[in-house]
């Protein structure tokens, strides 16, 4: 990627206050930021991958136990949440696009909608947790309703997967919140700064993980 460092960039970019002193030009700086985040996302894939590996092993060891246990999850809430996340994925992608075009009003609105959808997601998740606890679907609950031991494995994975995903949503919402604040304050250049693109990438990843968590936890064991 030496090309990125080639000294053939227009002077406009070099003068930008968004350019850090150790970079040659904005193109190099943006390439570094994007690559950095993609690499980070690769590590995130492997982070969740450890959990998916555990799921795979136990689903192969105890296929019936897992089908039975998965039938107890709240599929309606899960599916609504899928729709919410996909919609927020759309608004986030559009926000990135708008930022590239310097459309500040549009960026502000799209980020606000993204945050709103994320908050609704968390709200639904919270309600779902409340229902789960009400049904004693917590592995240490003395009244855990499912008899086969592997059901507790499934529900441990359920809480861990959705919990870690929710933490990622929280981090994403925090990031969006700060960026929204900065956008409204006009404290950074939409086009020269890569933070909206970075946040958009991260949010896309959070979407992506849910796309796999959703079938594994909610769509399992529904066939009649």
């Amino acid at each position: 990627m030496t090309e990125a460092a080639a000294p053939s960039t227009p002077g406009r970019a070099i003068r930008s206050p968004a350019l850090a002193s150790h970079f040659h030009d904005l193109r190099q700086q943006h390439a570094a930021a994007d690559l950095g985040l993609w690499i980070f996302l690769a590590t995130e894939i492997l982070f969740f991958g450890g959990l998916f590996a555990a799921y795979l092993v136990y689903a192969v060891l105890y296929p019936d136990g897992f089908l039975d246990a998965a039938a107890e999850t709240e599929i309606v809430i899960g599916t609504i949440n899928t729709a919410l996340l996909l919609t927020s994925g759309l608004t986030a992608a559009l926000a990135v696009k708008a930022a590239g075009a310097g459309m500040r009003r549009s960026v502000t609105m799209l980020i606000a909608v993204t945050i709103g959808l994320g908050l609704v997601f968390l709200g639904a998740k919270g309600y779902e947790y409340w229902l789960d606890l009400d049904h004693h679907l917590y592995p240490t609950s003395p009244e855990f309703p499912l008899a086969a031991p592997p059901a507790k494995l499934f529900w441990s994975l359920y809480w861990t997967m959705t919990g870690l995903h929710a933490i990622h949503i929280l981090v994403g919402l925090g990031t969006w919140g700060i960026i929204l604040f900065q956008t409204v304050r006009r404290s950074f250049s939409l086009t020269d700064n890569s933070r909206i693109r970075i946040a958009g990438l991260y949010w896309g990843f959070v979407d992506l993980m849910w796309l796999f968590i959703w079938p594994l936890l909610y769509l399992m064991g529904r066939a009649t």
């Binding site: 990627m1 080639a6 850090a20």
Partner: protein, 556 residues
């Protein structure tokens, strides 16, 4: 001992950097606060040097207690619990707070931008954050130790760690988890820097092998550490929240923990050794005055180790009840991953062939590295073959094997690098004779400590034993005696290096007349690394006859 060449000779066209102390990264606006908030990769390298040294001596103190306890067969110095906590502390601190960060974060941080001719790493603030995370993680681990310790061994095997240990397992695991973020931050920084920050002229195959080594290491860090993070998360949720997925009472499989754990921890061994290989390549080429033998082969070997290293983790599990077919596959792949390591050893030796070899302390360390790494690597073959491993697994043979790699290899390489770049880092020359004595003492002490452990393993002494049968005592006494020498040898550099900071001679910008870009700037370098763009010309390791007097002018 040997005459030290080129001490007072500087490169042609000396850059103005080294002359003015106030321009250097060290002297500029000195205050504690300016150091704690610095984003300069060189200063962060120094911060890491201080913290890893601290952790090294904490881990070393634990090692000393282990060796003292094992002096006699009966468990007399420590209680059994105490002993278990001490070896756990030794493992946790040495692995995660010394070996993993030491070369990438100290030397890598300091040198990678200098070596490729960049002003800084791509993400300077992330770099600083990584140090704070490392310190925070280490604080958790040390806090766990001070508030009663942890006794699971650094491997945290379930179900002992989840359901039976009453010690501070979660606290320690959280500490290691946090340090994992630090590792990932460093890895991201290094990879992005190498990809995007090289100036024109610094092509991929123009990079010094140290940079390649850090690049390969970073790949492993990034691809393995997240799985460790997950397995520790699962461990902690099982302990604290009852979300057990390794619990046999629920049909959980403790072997799954081992799979996930070793998916990280075997590649982590290469995180610990690859940077050492990079350092040794720089040192051997410099003091042999030779271009490295087989540059391309060295690069491919590094990358091959990084990739194949992920396919061999099951050789830690031959006795666990893992399927025989899986064991044989892992065994085969483990033999294959030894090939690129062997290639590197041959290349280092071939680099010395027809060289102009001098024996500065770094060269002594580097030669020690080649020998000890060879022994550590070859004994790895014993453990890679299934029937022999059934006997030697979890014995002192394993302990000796990985200490040959980690201590004989990695620690030697770190000292080689520390001495080699000390003049660049501090602007001071260290006393050569003292350093040479320390290097030899370390080599001797190391072998006396760990060679008897091969024999102990072979006669059946299991790991992590607090008391042992009398028949093993002779070898334990030898080992403990070696440890005393080793401890003294480790204290020596602490003394003379600190001494050199105050009384050492000022270093010229290129005391070794080495070829890397880092030697084209002042010692210590100025804040922004280079006052003028460094000259990237010729090939890497261009140890040219014109730069040095040689007897045969026909050479090269």
């Amino acid at each position: 001992m040997s005459d030290i060449p080129y001490r007072d000779v500087d490169v042609d066209g000396e850059k103005p950097g080294g002359r003015l102390m106030e321009e250097s990264y060290l002297g500029e606006r000195f205050s504690i606060w300016s150091w704690l908030t610095t984003t300069d990769h060189k200063r962060i390298g120094i911060l890491y040097l201080i913290s890893t040294t601290l952790f090294f001596f904490i881990g070393g103190a634990a090692a000393t207690m282990i060796r003292l306890e094992l002096f006699t067969p009966a468990g007399d110095l420590l209680t059994d619990d105490g002993y278990n906590k001490v070896f756990t502390l030794h493992g946790v601190v040495m692995v995660w707070f010394f070996l993993v960060p030491v070369i990438p974060s100290v030397l890598g941080n300091f040198l990678v931008p200098l070596m490729i001719g960049a002003k800084d790493l791509a993400f300077p603030r992330l770099n600083l954050l990584s140090w704070y995370l490392n310190i925070l993680g280490g604080t958790f681990a040390v806090w766990a130790m001070l508030s009663g310790g942890v006794d699971t061994g650094w491997t945290f095997y379930t179900p002992y760690s989840t359901a039976f240990a009453n010690t501070h397992v979660s606290l320690t695991a959280i500490g290691v988890f946090i340090s994992g973020f630090s590792t990932i931050a460093t890895g991201v920084n290094m990879i992005v820097t190498v990809h995007t920050m090289r100036p024109p002229g610094m092509g991929w195959f123009r990079m010094p092998l140290f940079v390649w080594a850090i690049y390969a290491t970073s790949l492993i860090m990034l691809l393995s550490t997240p799985v460790l993070a997950m397995v520790l998360t699962l461990l902690v949720t099982e302990r604290l929240l009852g979300l057990g997925i390794f619990d046999p009472n629920r049909g959980g499989d403790p072997i799954l923990f081992q799979h996930l754990f070793w998916f990280y921890s075997h590649p982590a061994v290469y995180i610990m050794i690859l940077p050492g290989m990079g350092v040794v390549t720089e040192v051997i080429t410099c003091f042999s005055r030779r271009r490295v033998f087989g540059y391309a082969a060295m690069v491919y070997a590094l990358l091959a180790i990084a990739v194949i290293g992920f396919f061999v983790w099951g050789h830690h599990m031959f006795t666990s009840g893992q399927s025989m077919y899986a064991s044989l596959t892992f065994s085969f792949l483990s033999f294959i991953v030894a090939v690129p390591s062997a290639i590197k050893v041959f290349n280092w030796i071939a680099t010395m062939y027809r060289g102009q070899i001098t024996f500065e302390a770094s060269m002594l360390y580097a030669m020690g590295f080649v020998g000890l790494f060879t022994m550590g690597g070859l004994t790895g073959l014993f453990l890679a073959s299934v029937p022999v491993d059934l006997h030697l697994h979890d014995t002192y043979f394993v302990v000796a094997h990985f200490h040959y790699i980690m201590v004989g290899g990695m620690v030697s390489a770190f000292f080689a690098g520390l001495h080699f770049w000390w003049p660049k880092i501090t602007g001071r020359l260290y006393p050569e004779t003292a350093a040479q004595i320390a290097a030899l003492l370390m080599f001797f002490g190391f072998n006396l400590t760990f060679f008897p452990q091969y024999i102990l393993g072979n006669i059946g002494m299991p790991r992590r034993y607090h008391a042992y049968p009398d028949a093993f005592q002779v070898w334990h006494v030898l080992s403990s005696a070696g440890a005393v020498i080793l401890a003294a040898a480790y204290l020596m550099p602490l003394g003379y290096l600190v001494w050199s900071l105050i009384w050492g001679k000022r270093a010229p910008s290129n005391p070794w007349r080495a070829s890397g870009l880092e030697w084209q700037t002042g010692s210590p370098p100025p804040k922004h690394n280079f006052l003028a763009n460094p000259k990237i010309e010729g090939s890497v390791y261009d140890y040219h006859p014109a730069q040095q007097p040689r007897r045969e002018p026909s050479d090269d």
